[in-house]
Symmetry: C2
Subunit: 704 residues, 2 copies
Amino acid sequence: MEALAEAVTRTPLLTGTSVEQKREEIRRYFHHTSSLYENLFDCINSDEAYYLRPEPLRHPLIFYFGHTAVFFINKLLLGKYHGHRLDERLESMFAIGVDEMSWDDLDRDHYDWPSVSETRAYREQVRHVVDTLISEMPLTLPITQDSPAWIILMGIEHERIHLETSSVIMRMLPLKYLDAHPLWAACNDTGPAPENSLLPVAGQTITLGKPATAHTYGWDNEYGHKTVAVAPFKVAKYLVSNGEYLAFVQAGGYQEPKWWSQEGQGWLTFTGADMPRFWRYCNGKYVQRNLLQEMPLPLDWPVDVNYLEAKAFCNWKAAQTGTHVRLPTEAEWTVLRNLLDTDQADWTRAPGNINLEHYASSCPVHRFEHKGVCDVVGNVWQWTESPIDGFPGFEVHPLYDDFSTPTFDGQHNVFKGGSWISTGNEATRYARYAFRRHFFQHAGFRYIESNRAEVPVEPVNSYETDELVAQYLEFHYGDRYFDVANYPKACVQTLLSHTPGLNHGKALDLGCSVGRASFELAQYFDQVDGIDFSARFIQHGFQLKETGHTRYAIPVEGDLVEFKEVSLQALGYAELGDKIDFAQGDACNLKACFCDYDLIFCGNLIDRLYDPGLFLTQIHQRLNAGGYLVLTSPYTWLEQYTPKDKWLGGIKVNGENVTTLDGLDAILGQHFNLVAQQDVPFVIRETRRKFQHTLAEMTVWQLK
Amino acid sequence: MEALAEAVTRTPLLTGTSVEQKREEIRRYFHHTSSLYENLFDCINSDEAYYLRPEPLRHPLIFYFGHTAVFFINKLLLGKYHGHRLDERLESMFAIGVDEMSWDDLDRDHYDWPSVSETRAYREQVRHVVDTLISEMPLTLPITQDSPAWIILMGIEHERIHLETSSVIMRMLPLKYLDAHPLWAACNDTGPAPENSLLPVAGQTITLGKPATAHTYGWDNEYGHKTVAVAPFKVAKYLVSNGEYLAFVQAGGYQEPKWWSQEGQGWLTFTGADMPRFWRYCNGKYVQRNLLQEMPLPLDWPVDVNYLEAKAFCNWKAAQTGTHVRLPTEAEWTVLRNLLDTDQADWTRAPGNINLEHYASSCPVHRFEHKGVCDVVGNVWQWTESPIDGFPGFEVHPLYDDFSTPTFDGQHNVFKGGSWISTGNEATRYARYAFRRHFFQHAGFRYIESNRAEVPVEPVNSYETDELVAQYLEFHYGDRYFDVANYPKACVQTLLSHTPGLNHGKALDLGCSVGRASFELAQYFDQVDGIDFSARFIQHGFQLKETGHTRYAIPVEGDLVEFKEVSLQALGYAELGDKIDFAQGDACNLKACFCDYDLIFCGNLIDRLYDPGLFLTQIHQRLNAGGYLVLTSPYTWLEQYTPKDKWLGGIKVNGENVTTLDGLDAILGQHFNLVAQQDVPFVIRETRRKFQHTLAEMTVWQLK
């Protein structure tokens, strides 16, 4: 490994004083990455092997050979840093991987792949383009996310990811297609598995997320900021070794459904697995497949398993010991990572089997120890209990908007720590990758023992993609368009100006949708109830109150979307959540407990009720003496919401035009005085260029 | 008739010098109208008769007895001149008549009508309310359309209309229910029918429409202004008498389909009619029913028929004479009306059997002559060939928006001139009423002889009520909202600023919709072709070019609509029509003749095409050297218009975001240079309060 190790597997700093020196640093990192990638593929001794699919959930290796080069061109075109395609056919064929398929979602496309030499020639062309761009691109330091240098680094780090994933596919190729290669030599040390033991870890509050000011390239999902209180736990000194895992296999663990999650059972049924993917049982002995060779199962090396297997092992282990054995969460893993006070940029040699600085394979689990814990980083990736999610403050990088967001679905678990072949960004402290739980990488696990049964993972804060709900999130919490003030805020401000003597006890926000007016009202009232008919909408108000954040994706143009996050803190509502109760409810059939209000605000509600007249004839019963009912509506009557015979206005009655205001007056006049009437405009974004621009009428009614 | 004739059947002047005197004048007119109405109903000798339906297409008389009172209250409430209902039940039941039903659309509702005495008591209440209002309402002179006095006059004139329609229904009641009454005495004179003859009338250009400054009350349809060139014709000296019509009946006219229009044949089949509605054949003799009695058919009185019968007679007569005999158009009738130089306000005694100043029935057709023509006004209404339409400049009165507009449908023909019982406004020069062609009133006809076969009537300029087409008419020709400039105008101004060296020969407005940009372009180009895929849209551009006017109704709130008219003259485009050709066409498959353009403008087109790529790859062939292609679009891609695989952008291609601008560039770049790019906002009104507010992007491409 000597020739390719050293600094070239370390991701460059974004900072520096000499622009020209930085160009050369990036150029060297680019060429070495590309060469390293090609060196890995050089282990394949027959072009035929490029077209096999040892992993049916993935493309053949020829795709990955071309893909990392095409990625550069596609991103540079997208960022307008490069003007034209090099080869339309290859750039289409090599564009999209299938890394994330489920096992029951096999790729059935047929590709007419190009030859290896054609692909190699294409890679050379791209090298030339990128090399030239590195020389000519505008460059200032530090490099920021909108710099062309960031895109170059993105392409390089992307290739480093595929260096690892390609090595996993090659590890599945029949050995006859692979030659030993001095650059890719496995570790030779094996021995009996060490006895694992549990070490206590103190509880602590830690912060996750890469600072925006960090000096190395990061993928979008690394940034943001999340503070977590981690309870005390005990941690296994070693990653689970082949030897430790063998006991589970020999105890019939793969045949016993009770150790397996439902997802795990499905996977077992589909694959018929009875041992880890890289083991083989042959002539009474277990054998392990490494990148380029097989060896008798190295009992003291970490086992390579997917999350489902790791979790089954923990369940079995927990039953054996009668304790709460499980995988660490991402936060718990981070507590362990803090045992190590160095990171890739600073170390003189990697403090673990990582970054290709030691072996081209795993090595014994007791080789690298830090403060009593071995393999804090490196050897194999360590699965966690945490489905991946963006940290609060997460922002999509505009040139790679589907790197992370599709994985925020609760189906992808984070693994941390890196493997022997994790280089560049992959080997840094903040790197976090996520795969479907049944996928294989050079990944294993470490277990912990908790003193609580429940696993402290939060539901994934996935992006609301329901178009209507997302539209309303943007309407309540998003940007201002055409210079029209935020509608829920404007409504509350306007109603306050028209309600003399208003008591500030209890308010009801009826038809609260995603909840903005409830938060606004909570600034003035002791208690606010936010009620909406639709759970799809109200869940966002609830989530904001509970977690302080929510997320949505809104259309930009056609299918393209923009990702947005709402933060209660940023809105200035951080302290208000306790005053608000959100509940699902029907304005036309309101539960008895919703009463004694000083204010009932119905924003854009009445023309969406199935029986607005019924609602209006009863609502006075819910108000305190002198209380106010405030309605806003553009009076957009639609039969899909309100049968025509229930419309309050916008109809001919006995041949004469009746407006909604006439209809309101006719019903409410009995119990209320109309004390104010004012237009309040609002804008709802449909796409980047198309908006609904509406003038609601606010009417303020005081109980007689 | 002495007691009720005189000035009380004459509509008051709107002008005057003494407000108090005007109040008394209106009061007197109001009470006399109401009394006259009640006097007519006094002829009914049995309450039972109020509930019969001698005319199944109409409500029973009890409805009309209550209706004219309820009308006052409903309009006063609508105008906020009166604060509360007197009787909700009666005001609902008596609100809507069924005057306009087709014969195959019979009313099947069942009503629980109130008693006659209850209705009479209600009428008294209304008299009191209106009388008080006449004393107390604010009043300045002259009375204008937004004055409460106008609403009082509207109620009075409305009752005068129903005085006449009720008399028609009473004319159908069995005689046993009616008593003779000195106020309602029929004419006694009868004799042989005079021989009709034709008198020449010179061609002339005349103006139709009541001036806005006229000094008497008018219904909305009377106002506006239309100039018509009338060709010379010959006119029958007399209205067609019973005697003259009898020849048609006896010639088997009702049994011979060839004389009847298709509509007439349908009516004949439905009714089985074999003579006029008020004739009866009894013991070998014809008898005529008048209001309160029967008499031997008075051969020299005018025949009472509907339009369909009048037209059949003319067709028969034309065949007999070998000439172009037909009814007059409204304009031709107006030429005859000019023979009479007096109108209701001025005459000392009515110059015809009208205004109840002579008889309570028809009288001989030779009784009143003016410059050789008899019955220029009065005796019976005179059917015309003209379907009713608003004159250019027509505006709906906001408190009675369905008085006229529902009749602008091509199904209602105008009759003119008034009958013996036409009083008030009905008896004035500008009065024009329209009924379905099969309806009976005290109406007959006069025929004319033309020297041309075709009838010079224009298609009715009915209100476009298709919501989308009307929305686009407002978008192109209507009001400005949110201070956003008119879009087609702004597009043309903007493109002119970005097209240096543009030749001003031929322009193509592709996707012209309702055509505004074509008119705008015609200000600068020698020739403009406006092409749209949809005939529904393009017909309005065509109509504007041909007639200078078009009309539409747009939603205000719910079902309520607002009526609008577009005038080419008012837009300053009066002289441009000749430069424009509108045609239906498919942008993706354009006929070969559409070529040699200096400019092709595609406003909001590309994201509505089924194959925009196909369109864009070919469009350069239609341009002259150096010509410009200008596209504007908000890039709102929808699968209902464009299959997703044809979207130019707003999609991921090979995993990367492709915007529409990228897609345009990829296709157009081959033949064009992109020379400018600019946002142009537009607003489309959906209701009074709801709008689409959009930012289109204009891109200007010059042929390489």
